[in-house]
Symmetry: C2
Subunit: 345 residues, 2 copies
DNA sequence: AAAGCCATTCAAAGCGATTTCAAATTTTGA
DNA sequence: TCAAAATTTGAAATCGCTTTGAATGGCTTT
């Protein structure tokens, strides 16, 4: 009948015949409390299911015990993000840190959301995702003095903590491999223009081509979100060119599915008529090894990146200098059936 | 150099030469404050970017201003959940309610997570997902007196607020349609056993078969998580049976991709040799209309469900009786190319 | 036996908001 | 014109925790 009355520190203290001070200290591991008392307190707390009221604790300590993730609408909360989230979450749970997830519709809303987070002190830090080359959100967060770790890289005046995968090298190697196989017209289905990772990938792609004195054909480079539908359309259009591309570099597994469909629809065979290497963020429900034909990939677990970023967040909250928090992860190139020698023309 | 010192109510009050009381009232729309003062306060607050400290506000009001979502590891934080989340988020953002997302690895951990949420009063309500037929988590939440809305249905002693889609009718119609087309061996790739939605789907499937006096072949019913790999394996095994199934009911679009691969690998044509109707939760990056061949589906937007559930949460927090918060959404049957007449044998 | 030390414990002052109750001012009514 | 009522403001209590500074009591030490 009554309200939801959770047990308070005061109740627990009274129950034990101790002061709140002592009980609080006992539970928080302060040294100046008698071992016997500490055990008694811990036992009672455990038995009665006492947990400090989160708001009170936060107010008293000034720590929010949460990290923020602001996601831009439909484009960002896709399968990539959910894998990433799940990686972040698995570590945060072990640290008793909450994840505060908000969704916004536009860039402006996103900036506003960060201002709100800062002003209302809801989070101790945030994770910034898919940065642009010179990311305004990163600048804002610096101004707001709210610590953050970047998933990706950006170029702003200040040092910034980040973790990224080596997209440039991944694409350089993938492209070189296709060139080794004799391919000369290699299409790149890249991410949205303006994102750092897309730029890095293009750099790697170009580097491999120019290293052999080959030109870059802009008609073979597409930029878009990673959905199978858009990829299907782009690949379809590219396959109508003559000479047609003999290989595709797909930005994600979703993209790869679209390209695959376009190839099949054009009556071509993946792995012989046309080759493909896709970037694989390692989704548990979409396995490159189990495709038909199996898919060659540049692989890096986005979930692991999430977990590691969570760890980095804790490090910078513990005071580690931002300039020391940089990680560039290598990307594995896994060759399977979808990448074969270029067809003789 | 100093700490992150956000503006406090006290600062704002001093700045205005008013008491905290008046400023607080002005900002919260209490009637007993002079209109002129209210404007002055609102203006200053806006200008200085004042927002109440969330922890203090929560402590004072007893409201957490957040809803919780506990997700079980890899299986639950898939593409379905991220769409759903994004739907919930879009409404919650408009209400200034946070989403507290935590991930857990096991059922036990999940129960523990709810206990923690309750004891530490971090959320005003939670959203419960993918319930089992008699869901222990729902029982626990009732005990803990933490309000919740169920996405799906369950059978426990108490009335429960829920929103679900009409899985039974969806599968009955899909199955009937395939029967009308002459199919007699129809495989069902269903969700994990024990989940209510999977049971409902099986009921619909069986109803359609028995309505025509046809038996249910257990070898044609599979239960599993919705990943393309598992679906591929199951479909592959089923296609080896003689007589082989001529139609598949796929539980999700991921499942459909796996089945599709199995069909192709068996040298068969989707839409002529084998038919398929898949359940489509409407992912923006995986469109049934853009598949090749286009995919017949039972369709219901999981994102919209999320948004609506967020609204329902607000309603029950506003005091609406649980027994009045039930919604059963119809499911659209969209016929496209993947479902054709049964092949003549 | 007095003084000094430890080891423990506690009372009370924050943290930053809301809200109760009282005070000050203005307006109204007779 | 003066009391009463209405309007507007403010001081202080409260929410549940942490943490500072002081108090208690038992043991050494001289």
């Amino acid at each position: 009948m009554g309200r939801n009355a959770a047990m308070r520190l005061k109740d627990l203290a009274e129950h034990l015949g101790l002061s709140q001070t002592t009980v609080s200290r006992a539970l928080n591991g302060y040294p100046e409390v008698n071992e016997a008392t500490r055990r008694r307190v811990a036992e009672a707390a455990n038995l009665l299911g006492y947990r400090p009221n989160a708001s009170a604790l936060r107010l008293a300590t000034g720590r929010a015990g949460a990290v923020g993730l602001v996601l831009r609408g439909a484009d960002e909360l896709g399968p990539h993000m959910s894998e990433f989230l799940s990686g972040v979450g698995s570590y945060m749970a072990s640290q008793e840190i909450d994840m505060l997830v908000s969704t916004v519709a536009s860039h402006q809303e996103e900036l506003a959301a960060y201002r709100r987070l800062a002003a209302s002190q809801k989070v101790d830090a945030v994770i910034l995702h898919s940065p642009t080359i010179s990311d305004e959100r990163a600048e804002l967060l610096m101004d707001l003095k709210i610590p953050f770790v970047l998933h990706g890289r950006t170029n702003i005046g200040h040092p910034v903590a980040w973790l990224d995968i080596d997209n440039t090298s991944a694409l350089e190697r993938a492209t070189s491999h296709l060139l080794d196989l004799g391919h000369r017209r290699i299409a790149l289905l890249n991410g949205v223009k303006g994102r750092t990772f897309a730029q890095h990938r293009e750099i790697g792609y170009r580097a491999a081509l120019t290293a052999r004195g080959l030109p870059v054909d802009p008609a073979l480079v597409g930029n878009s979100a990673f959905t199978d539908e858009i990829a299907f359309r782009m690949a379809q259009a590219m396959l109508e060119q003559r000479p047609r591309p003999t290989a595709f570099l797909a930005g994600s597994m979703m993209t790869a599915l679209g390209v695959f469909r376009a190839i099949r629809q054009a009556g071509l065979q993946l792995g012989s008529d046309v080759s493909m290497i896709a970037h694989d963020d390692v989704f548990p429900y979409l396995n490159a090894d189990n495709m038909y034909p199996t898919m060659s990939t540049t692989r890096s677990s986005i979930r692991q990146a999430g977990t590691r970023i969570a760890e980095l967040i804790m490090q910078i909250l513990a005071g580690k200098p931002l300039a020391e928090v940089h990680e560039l992860w290598p990307v594995e190139l896994v060759l399977r059936e979808s990448s074969g020698p270029a067809p003789k023309s």
